[in-house]
Amino acid sequence: MAEASASALRVEHISKNYGAVTALRDVSLGVKYGEALGLIGDNGAGKSTLIKIMTGYTAPTSGAIYVNEEQKHLHSVNYARSLGIETVYQDLAMISELSVFHNMFLKRELLIPRTPFLDNHRMKREAQEFLLTLGVKLPSVDVEVSKLSGGQRQAVAIARALFMNAKILLLDEPLAAMGAREGAAILELINNLKKKNVAIIMIGHNYAQVLEVCDRINLLQRGVITYDKIVSSNSMDELNDIIIREYRIDQKQAESSAAADGANIVH
């Protein structure tokens, strides 16, 4: 049993380059059991890249990863999963041509005992029951995922991640395609998971939603963490201030470069 202050998942000095592009620069963060960390930042800031490193999908260029305070080399998604890490990817990782229940059981299929054959009956039944307990409404677990709406697809992706009793849950914009009611249901679900001592990292662009469930917020800007605070009543104002300040800086830069262009033209 890990001590109360110890991290469930922690990364230190993580950098990631894609060729000439630096997606992450010396990023360190961690999350404890029973805690939800909100990760926010502009498009292209490096949030998804960080998630993919923590789930064993991509290797960092440098830096260390600790699970239960033990350094781990997450060489594969399967290995990360064996450590209790489950992920909802931004692209959902759904196979359109496969049925809902096959997608839910992908890479953890149930087989008919002592045979290599898929136990479709049991998978179908268990998927159906589980989706019902989550309150996810679908025409049937038999339909191809290509025939689901964007929000339904997202619900199935979340259900899949929850299905295996994850100890550490990574959510990359889990509510992006959700209606208000469905989104609220998922937020409630996340709050319940926290009570069950699951460690959660959630990426989101909707600050209200992120602040509703997260205990701490990290802001990632151009590959660097620039803000790390416990959520409080004035978090929303602080974040808004940062965004407005950023926007002003961007505008000034745009103006000055436009001015420089103008000067060039005069010359």
């Binding site: 990782a93 196979i95 041509e97 290599p116």
Partner: protein, 336 residues
């Protein structure tokens, strides 16, 4: 304007009628069924026109012609679902019996020769897969290269001359010599592979890799292994088919198979409902597709249509079948 609107809505309602009618629902769901019906209609047509189409002799002939291609098509379906292709399989078909022949020349029993032929075939598939996956070369290019290499190899070791197939007794009958043995092999291969495809992890991962390779990797599927494995399967089946053929005709021809049988297999798979861009396909469908192609070929031959016209009509039939397939897929999507 309003006129085009009404015709638009008429089309929409027609489409809805088409897709919601239980009969067409059945055909949309069971793509194989529509191709099978076409096959049966063709048989009836050729039987009334020639009256020998359903004779025992012709049926055996048809079986043998179908079986070798169907065995290859079954493997090719696995690759097509992955969005990959093996152009070299027809040349493995020619090489494998020579490997068998030379093994027997070295005083090994025929069964060892057969196994050696199959092993070499599988190894070629392995190389095709590794080059495609590890070096990231499109399989169209990889296997186009190996097509020539394997052909060159076969011609070199055989000096370009045919040989008599070795072996006597029961094994010859089992391995393609008996009238129905090739068809029995084909049916076994098709049913086993269809089962693998629809009822095992391997099949599920094949669909997943072909449908969304990034998603498949994200859930932890070893997509490289799935791809290489399926390259091995198709090449192995190419070798098996070639060995069966060598026992059937009692000789081994360095120019047998090649691109002709490979393209027939791919055409059969596509006619049977497999999409060339991956994600969908059935092995049973490919068998039916190959049977339909064989019926057309055989029927035309019996009708005495010249070989020149024959390719023309065959090409058009393939195009029509593929178009039909694409339309059916669109209807299936709209049907939801």
């Amino acid at each position: 304007m309003s006129q085009s609107n009404t015709s638009q809505s008429q089309i929409t309602s027609l489409r809805r009628q088409l897709t919601q009618n239980p009969v067409s629902q059945f055909f949309l769901k069971q793509r194989e069924a529509s191709i099978a019906i076409i096959g049966i209609l063709l048989i009836l047509y050729f039987e009334t026109q020639t009256s020998v189409f359903l004779s025992r002799y012709n049926i055996i002939n048809l079986f043998q012609f179908t079986a070798e291609t169907a065995i290859i098509a079954a493997g090719e379906v696995m690759l097509l679902i992955l969005g990959e292709i093996d152009l070299s399989v027809g040349n493995v078909y020619a090489l494998a019996p020579f490997i068998m022949y030379f093994t027997v020349q070295d005083h090994f029993p025929i069964i060892v020769g057969i196994l050696a032929g199959l092993l070499v075939s599988a190894f070629i598939g392995f190389l095709n897969g590794v080059v495609t996956v590890v070096l990231g070369i499109p399989s169209f290019i990889t296997t186009l290269g190996s097509l020539y290499i394997i052909n060159g190899l076969t011609l070199t070791i055989s000096n370009g001359f045919p040989e008599l197939t070795p072996g006597t007794g029961q094994i010859v009958n089992i391995m393609g010599g008996g009238s129905y043995s090739e068809m029995i092999w084909a049916v076994i291969v098709v049913f086993v592979l269809q089962f693998v495809l629809s009822r095992t992890r391997w099949g599920m991962y094949t669909f997943a890799t072909g449908g969304n390779i990034i998603g498949a990797k994200e859930v932890g599927i070893n997509t490289s292994l799935i791809k290489i494995g399926n390259f091995v399967i198709v090449a192995f089946l190419g070798g098996l088919s070639g060995i069966l053929a060598s026992f059937r005709i009692s000789s081994i021809d360095p120019l047998a198979g090649g691109s002709t049988i490979m393209f027939s297999a791919i055409a059969g798979a596509v006619i049977g409902g497999t999409a060339l861009n991956g994600g969908v396909g059935t092995v049973i469908g490919s068998l039916i597709g190959v049977i339909v192609l064989s019926i057309i070929k055989d029927g035309f031959t019996l009708l005495g249509i010249s070989a020149f016209t024959f390719d023309l009509i065959l090409g058009i039939s393939i195009l029509v079948a593929m178009l039909l397939n694409v339309r059916l897929q669109m209807l299936r999507k709209a049907g939801n």
